[in-house]
């Protein structure tokens, strides 16, 4: 079935002209109109724009001007500016914002003739781990409709899992690609900081934000990375490195691979059912020839406190641009300029975003800078040094991507601290700037008898994405967790029922 095909298979079908990009795109648009009203994975769709791109891709294919992703429909997280598309970042603040230019990531996909299928739902300004902070409503986890897909890239995760796109983009500041990938049973990669340009990607915490692919397999992620990665002078932190082919190492055998298991990732706080799945996955790696090494990342527990100083501090600065003057929400009624700022921001931002701006403002305010911001930056170095030490003993690090499987909608929404703990295993790699990925490793049974996906996290050394993709791909050659798809037959077809009413 086309919707379950890999990017490579789709590319081959398009190039052999067994299907056209318009047909392929239309089949996804039809599924979207059937399922999206209840899953809510997309915030914005624009069939005319999407089909025009598909048509252009078909013309390119006919002319023989083909790349592996030409004509393939990709969902874009609504954090990326795409010219002429409404780009909301999940916020009321930007509910009517039409992007005047393309993010680098978007122009990279455009350049190879990929098709933009639509803009996916997300936690507001990427602040959240459940997609529940979105102004445009929560997203259903396709594996269990009363549960969250994770966040902040929850819409992208649900769209890939429900086969409402061939693959999607995400961004990851503290786990926003890997945790939803884990909760929705996908393969997702957060590259080394600086590998994918942040130009046109709406900023949350600039020293941590990094874009990456969310897809059905490691091979698909490698093909996406070939498009997304690369130097861009418009991002001052973009790294000027030679273009890399991320598929080049996929087929290397894993014999002799040293896998480090950090004891802190298997301690208190990890659901036993998740731990069991991870242990089984590690056994599989042993069979593939990997050697297991015990390592320690002693400062793991501090990564959450450090993150909740640094990320809000950077956010409070980045989000000061939303003042109701040039774009974004402006209050309908105000007395003077100060009142206009205060009201526009109070109305335009949701509760979690406001909390983080206030925390960030507090830790940067006079008298507290040394105790919070500077201290957090010092511990950030300790956390990064833990990894430097660990990588002297191993090639990759493995552990869970998230401490639990998908939780029920509403369960943690009123308890920010409990929500923050979702990212306990992912945040430290953002602080260190290292690449990390989540790979489907099996299912754990929930209390109410649902089989929910579990993600194995693979952390690599700087610029080791090709090796990580190899490590994931070899596992996917001997397991079939990544090809399993959720059953959507129980999902209410809101589109149809609305039609009847």
């Amino acid at each position: 079935m086309m919707i379950n095909s890999s990017l490579k298979q789709l590319g081959e079908m398009l190039q052999a002209k067994t299907i056209s990009s318009v047909e392929l795109t239309q089949s996804f648009l039809t599924r979207i109109s059937q399922y999206n009203p209840s899953i809510n994975a997309y915030i914005s769709l624009d069939e005319a724009k999407t089909l025009a791109q598909a048509k252009a891709a078909d013309a390119r294919i006919a002319a023989g001007d083909v790349t592996p992703l030409t004509g393939i429909p990709i969902a874009q997280k609504d954090i990326f500016c795409a010219k002429g598309w409404r780009t909301t970042c999940g916020s009321k603040m930007l509910a009517n914002f039409i992007a005047p230019y393309d993010a680098h990531v978007i122009s990279q996909f455009d350049a190879v003739g990929a098709v933009n299928l639509g803009k996916t739902n997300m936690d507001e300004f990427a602040m959240g781990s459940s997609n529940e902070t979105s102004y445009f409503g929560g997203v259903k986890n396709p594996w269990s409709f009363d549960r969250v897909p994770g966040g902040s890239s929850g819409g992208s995760a649900a769209a890939v899992a429900a086969r409402l796109c061939a693959a999607a983009t995400g961004t990851d500041t503290g786990g926003s690609i890997r945790q939803p990938a884990s909760l929705c049973g996908l393969t997702g990669l957060k590259p080394t900081y600086g590998v994918v340009s942040r130009f046109g990607m709406i900023a949350f915490a600039s020293s941590l934000d990094q874009a990456g692919p969310m897809a059905k397999s490691a091979e698909d992620c490698a093909l996406m990375m070939n498009v997304m990665a690369g130097f861009d002078e418009r991002d001052s932190t973009s790294l000027n490195r030679a273009k890399e082919d991320y598929t080049k190492d996929l087929n290397k055998p894993l014999a002799g691979l040293k896998v480090g298991l950090p004891k802190e990732f298997f301690a208190e706080g990890l659901d036993a059912s998740v731990g069991k799945v991870i242990e089984t996955a590690i056994e599989e790696y042993k069979k593939l020839g990997a050697e297991i090494v015990e390592i320690s990342l002693p400062n793991t527990g501090l990564s959450i406190p450090v993150y909740y100083v640094l990320a809000p501090a950077e956010a409070s600065s980045n989000l000061s641009r939303y003042d109701g003057v040039r774009y974004g929400h402006r209050a309908a009624e105000y007395t003077d300029l100060m009142d206009m700022y205060n009201k526009s921001r109070a109305e335009g931002f949701g509760a979690e975003v406001k909390r983080r701006i206030l925390i960030g403002t507090y830790v940067l305010s006079a008298g507290y800078y040394d105790a919070y911001y500077l201290k957090a930056q010092q511990i950030r170095r300790l956390i990064a040094q833990d990894f430097t030490e660990a990588f002297k003993k191993c090639d990759v690090i493995m552990g869970p991507a998230a401490p639990s499987t998908a939780f029920k909608a509403g369960e943690k929404v009123d308890d920010p601290v409990a929500m923050y703990l979702q990212d306990i295993y992912t945040i430290s790699t953002n602080l260190a700037g290292l690449p990390g990925m989540s790979v489907p490793a099996g299912f754990a049974q929930s209390d109410d008898g649902k089989a929910l996906p579990v993600g194995l996290q693979i952390i690599g050394n700087y610029f080791d994405e090709a090796r990580m993709l190899n490590v994931a791909h070899q596992y996917q050659q001997v397991t079939d967790w990544h090809v399993q798809a959720p059953d959507l037959s129980q999902l209410p077809d809101l589109n149809q029922s609305e039609g009847v009413a």
């Binding site: 000027n240 774009y327 206030l358 300790l382």
Partner: protein, 104 residues
């Protein structure tokens, strides 16, 4: 250190976010929880550790001093918000943005 309602009001003012009297108490409760989490840092001895602001030790890249940006003002102004206070007109005039009067 314990956060007070006064702290919330001060920070909200610095952040230019209106927080109503009613919301201030709830905000105080949630922020106190987050600060409690952050306080764990204070137990760590960080004497002599160089702060890390960025994951790659890079210096700022320089470029040639030439114009690289095109003028997108008209494009940008299409996103201007409505003026407000009863007017649904866009808050732009003559290529500028309109804000409440700040000089008497």
């Amino acid at each position: 250190m314990a956060l007070s309602i006064e702290d919330i009001k001060k920070v909200a003012h610095l952040a230019r976010i209106e927080v109503s009297e009613g919301d201030a108490a709830a905000t105080l409760f949630k922020l106190t929880g987050i600060l409690g989490l952050i306080e764990q840092m204070q137990a760590v001895d960080t004497t002599g550790i160089v702060p890390m602001s960025h994951s790659q030790d890079l210096s700022q890249r320089l470029r040639d001093d030439v114009v690289t940006k095109t003028n997108l003002r008209d494009e940008f102004q299409k996103n201007a918000p409505a003026l407000g206070n009863g007017s649904t007109e866009q808050a732009v005039a003559g290529g500028l943005y309109l804000v409440p009067k700040v000089i008497e």
